[in-house]
Chain length 388, copies 2
Amino acid sequence: MIDFVFQNPCKIIFGKNALSHLGEEVLRYGRNVLLVYGGGHIKRMGLYQQVINILAEKQVQVWELGGIRPNPMLSRVYEGIELCRSNNIDLLLAVGGGSVIDTAKSIAAGVPYEGDVWDFHAGKAVPKTALPVGTVVTISAAGSEMSYSSVITKEEGMRKAGFNSLTNVPKFSILNPEYCYSLPPYQTACGVVDMLAHLMERYFTQVEHVMLTDQMLEACMRTVLIQGPIVMERPDDYHARAELMWAAALAHNTLLQTGRVGDWASHKLEHELSALYDIAHGAGLAIVFPAWMKYVLRHSPGKLAQFASQVMGVPENVGDEEAISLEGIRRLESFYRSLGMPIRLQDAGICSDRLEEMAARATSAGPVGFYYPLREADALAVYRLMVE
Amino acid sequence: MIDFVFQNPCKIIFGKNALSHLGEEVLRYGRNVLLVYGGGHIKRMGLYQQVINILAEKQVQVWELGGIRPNPMLSRVYEGIELCRSNNIDLLLAVGGGSVIDTAKSIAAGVPYEGDVWDFHAGKAVPKTALPVGTVVTISAAGSEMSYSSVITKEEGMRKAGFNSLTNVPKFSILNPEYCYSLPPYQTACGVVDMLAHLMERYFTQVEHVMLTDQMLEACMRTVLIQGPIVMERPDDYHARAELMWAAALAHNTLLQTGRVGDWASHKLEHELSALYDIAHGAGLAIVFPAWMKYVLRHSPGKLAQFASQVMGVPENVGDEEAISLEGIRRLESFYRSLGMPIRLQDAGICSDRLEEMAARATSAGPVGFYYPLREADALAVYRLMVE
């Protein structure tokens, strides 16, 4: 175990009655709120109107930034910063999933900053402070409701870049599993892949003597693997939705990376995919991870057999460590397929003519990944394993 | 899973170099510090002098409340409150284990309160605010370094009572596993029993559909069962000490009770033991838990078989659920014995002439325990199972 600092002050309000706490939580921060949200999902299920009513009842004045899309864009962040500055906004309230919350976080960091908010994403500056952000979560996926990170795409050059900061951690997050009932199956599936990916990125580490976090990560992954198919079958299964909603938040709140260093190469490779092809992040990850595993198995097999046996349930009698690992990867692919996810580029309608470009972009700042660092040639080899 | 609110803002600074952060952390709160500590352990290992030097270097003025003993007393809390009020203390710095930290927490809550601080412990009042508390942890056990709770004994009537409050959560905790190297084996063992007990209390619940927290609790318990014997064998095994130190904090920071209701009857029964006999809390728990399990097995066997198979590793072919459960209890007793812990009252030199009195006291405010509520007659039956 390596030295670490861990802190996550986010207040989680979880359950069927969670929204009843919204008014009092908002009033801790002020009466001028910028509501950030996406498309029609929250309006169709009536959540938008419920939130508006609660805020009106508490005499909170509301400005709106709607229409945030997956892979959210920097231009909308700029727009939000202007809205906050012109109207003395006290709190950003993000109602939606990762894209909406990430947009609110970047706005929150940008408002008190004199420079360009992209500086944070580009690693040129570190935020000292930010406006408070609260969230009402409508999809179990990115874990942004409790995380340090915000990922935004800059239209110019389609650069997708995230930054991590304590100032990004929301003050409170309201999690009601019922809000996920009406998600399209494809989005539910992308969310399952995304939370599993956050756990896998942290799991694959070269740090030794990490039994406690290894076992807790395995516990979370097994839960996601069991509960995921249940919600695909029964979208309104409260209990399974609840397990997944809490797992998604815990997968990305930094607790499960304490004392260890995760890999994160797969996220880098996927960011290039979704920046170029606007594919859903979860779908991209389902394509990247099996390819990444097959590649690193040749170079650094250590943890893959443990993953196969402890998480994917591969029995010991399958063969040697390589055989066990390959069976684990095969089961992971089957799991993704069972969710209706693509596992090869062609499945997502992506042809393989820009692999070199993506490999170059992914490694433009140097090798990516800590479990097994990928140079440009490695990254290209992984992208090629996504073609079949 | 039931609705819940979860928040734990404590900043954990973990590792060999953690103490180097102490100065900057203290200065966030001010320059007048009350140092709360126990006996000679921190002086013998040089930690006391290191802390004093760091504070002097930062021009922090230090008052001292030393000599806090296990099962800490209310009179020392009163003493601390007076010291804080007379000297405009900004921060309480607890250097020690659960007794020292709990004393600091109660002082911190008592200072701004006009009434008697015992009101909080007696459930007659709820603290609205408290002085900040920071900790430097020297034993992996109580988990007070991250917890909501403080347990104090009132000399008059030897009443031991805890209360839970967000105001009790320390602002920061410094965890260096090396500080545990020089603990007497008996204290190390008591600590292992204590953290395991915090996990077991949360594990035994009647709430269904709690797969994620069940699996995470099992992960933590398995880790403690494996790492505990390692530190008994090799007190200076950094990695095993580190796993236990982080497990102790996570066992009691409320994360692992999200969405469920734990039991806590065993803690109540043990509080009576240690109040009357001044036995170490961990040793008391090693006596109480097997007896409690044997008793509830007759009335509410559900979770005991799961505990036996998932945590104690009892194979399915041992027999029916009752046989599996009994084998799990037997293995738990063996584990306690291997740590040198008592598992019966006689092992701790306690004769059985006050069982009725303890049963009456433990249930004086009504039945105790949520997994299986114990009335006075039940509590007496459990105490009788501690005699052999």
